[in-house]
């Protein structure tokens, strides 16, 4: 039952769960960026797993590498935006920012 594949699958589901739960409850912009990162890590793991399962390991790993690059950019831009938002509005609380407007 506890084969390596199952362990990885469990890891994917757990990371997804943590990520979605985080998105559901968090209001802090920096935390939003962090949980998005957790979600993307789940996706990377799932891509490698899919590559293994379909016997197409190379494709899975190369797609995962592409996602890593793309998601680093997302993280950098997201954090930079958070810094700007904090400077401008004095808060990183998402609902407050959306009611402030401008």
């Amino acid at each position: 039952m506890l084969t390596p594949l199952n362990v990885i699958l469990f890891g994917v589901v757990a990371l997804l769960g943590v990520g979605f739960y985080g998105l559901l409850i968090t209001r802090n912009l920096i935390k939003v960026v962090m949980v998005l990162q957790i979600l993307v890590k789940a996706v990377i793991l799932a891509l490698v797993l899919a590559g293994k399962l379909s016997g197409n390991m190379g494709l899975g790993i190369s797609t995962a590498a592409t996602v890593i690059v793309a998601d680093t950019i997302v993280a950098v831009v997201g954090l930079a935006l958070a810094v700007q938002v904090r400077r401008r509005f004095g808060t990183v609380d998402v609902p407050q920012i959306s009611t402030l407007r401008g």
Partner: protein
Amino acid sequence: MAAILVSLVIGLPWIGSVVVWLAGNKRSSFQHTTAVVASVLTAITSLVLLAFASADAVIRIPLGASFGELTFVPDGLAVSLTAIAAVVGSLAVIFSVDYMRGDAQLGRYYFLVLFFIGAMIGLVLSGNLLFTFFFWEITALCSYGLISFYNDDPKAVAGGMKALIITQVGGVGLLAGTLVAFAALGSFQVSDLLKNAEAIPAASLAFIAFSFLIAAAAKSAQFPFHTWLPDAMEAPTPISALIHAATMVNAGIYLLARFYPAFESVPSWTMSVLLVGLISATIAALSAVIATDLKRVLAYSTVSQLGYMVYAIGAGGVLASQFHLLSHAVFKALLFLAAGSVIHSVGTRDLRRMGGLGYKMPFVRNVFIVGALALAGIPILNGFWSKELILEVGLEHSSIWAYGIMLFGAGLTAFYTFRMVWLVFFGVEREHLHYHAAGSAMRVSLGILAVGTFVTWLLFGGLNGLLSTTLPFHEIEHESLVELVTAILSAPATWFALVVVAIGVGYSWVRMRGFKFFGGGALQPLVDTAFGFDSLNHFVVQLFSKSAERLRATQTGELNWNILGIIGGLLLVLVVLWMGA
């Protein structure tokens, strides 16, 4: 050869539309020239295409596994409608050169007109239902843009919006029917649906048949969707001619005629089609009797004449409906364009302010009377032959009461047509209106259409030959022009109809003597509310806007709520998949 012609007949107007648009509004004479050249070339190509009619697809473009092939099938039904759309459309474009002279936004105008003509041609030639739907939606979009062309006038914008919303109901019907047909047959090909209609389960086939009926009724402004067409009268008059005669409303008749063999066996489908036509023809004729706006009278008469075509299809007379479509396209374009030159000249559409204009505008009066005689069904104009053919089919294949009502409608048609003619061109001048003579481009279009009104019924043999040889599923008998003439002249139905028409004209004459043309009596409140259908439309619109207003509360724009929605949707999908598996 046929493949090249088909590509040209769709491509030419579309290329022309882009060129006109890119030319920019500063070069207006170039825009006029390009539009006329593109539309006239399209018309010539469409006439050449008539010689290449065949039941087989001439263009096949594979679209991958799920969509099958995009095919274009130039069969008799398609090429005849292509010719009508292209020729009448090009005359409307020529007329526009005078009518729209000096308008600041010619680019938008001609772009939409040419795009509209191309889309209509694509609609009838397409052999793939999905693409029929795409072209169908393009025509809806263009009609919206053209009805609301004067977009600083709130009435025009409202009329365009109404047309768009109501014809969208029809679009949804067409899409739903198409998808069910695809689910049952695994193909979007029109020919597959016609060939394998018996193989489709009865319930699915009935769903497709009635969806297509809704689509056709919405597009052709038939009961209960007839309210958009009179409100579409805010458009520039050449556009009204285009929508009423060449494009748009013919699409619904085309759809019914195209799929008649497949749906014939569906229980009560033909009866429903017949009733839709009957009710539309009667309601619209009654409305036309008391309308006081010149263009509205013509709009109601279009709904009424389209009702005759739908009735003919319901009675099994596909040929009769297409013949009347041809006649109607010619004489209605003539009437609209002639009305357009009257309106352009005197600056009002109100019949109560016109009168006695015939002495000032003899040319327009003469061609208008030609169109009016055809609309009323007076021999030997084209409207006479086609309407008699419809009534004859109706007498043979539908109940006697339905025939009686249609006969009454023919009398009403004669009455309101002549009322309109008296009010515009004869009698006393009710108000002193400034006028100027029609321009030469207007005269060219009007002259061609007036000659056409006299002679297009001679094309019956050709139309019949096209339809009977290239439509394998329709079982249209071959009948020559001579046989038609003898059949109509010897049929008692013709003489009944002529008597009724004569009564209509006579009553109109009596009313004219007494100047009792305004005030509708008991009819007035009914017509003002479009026989209650305006309030029905209003109710539906209110229902949607109110529920949308309520649902707004769910759109908070907050991240957490959106995530909750996404996760909930995901869980729902998983549960459904798990339950299904």
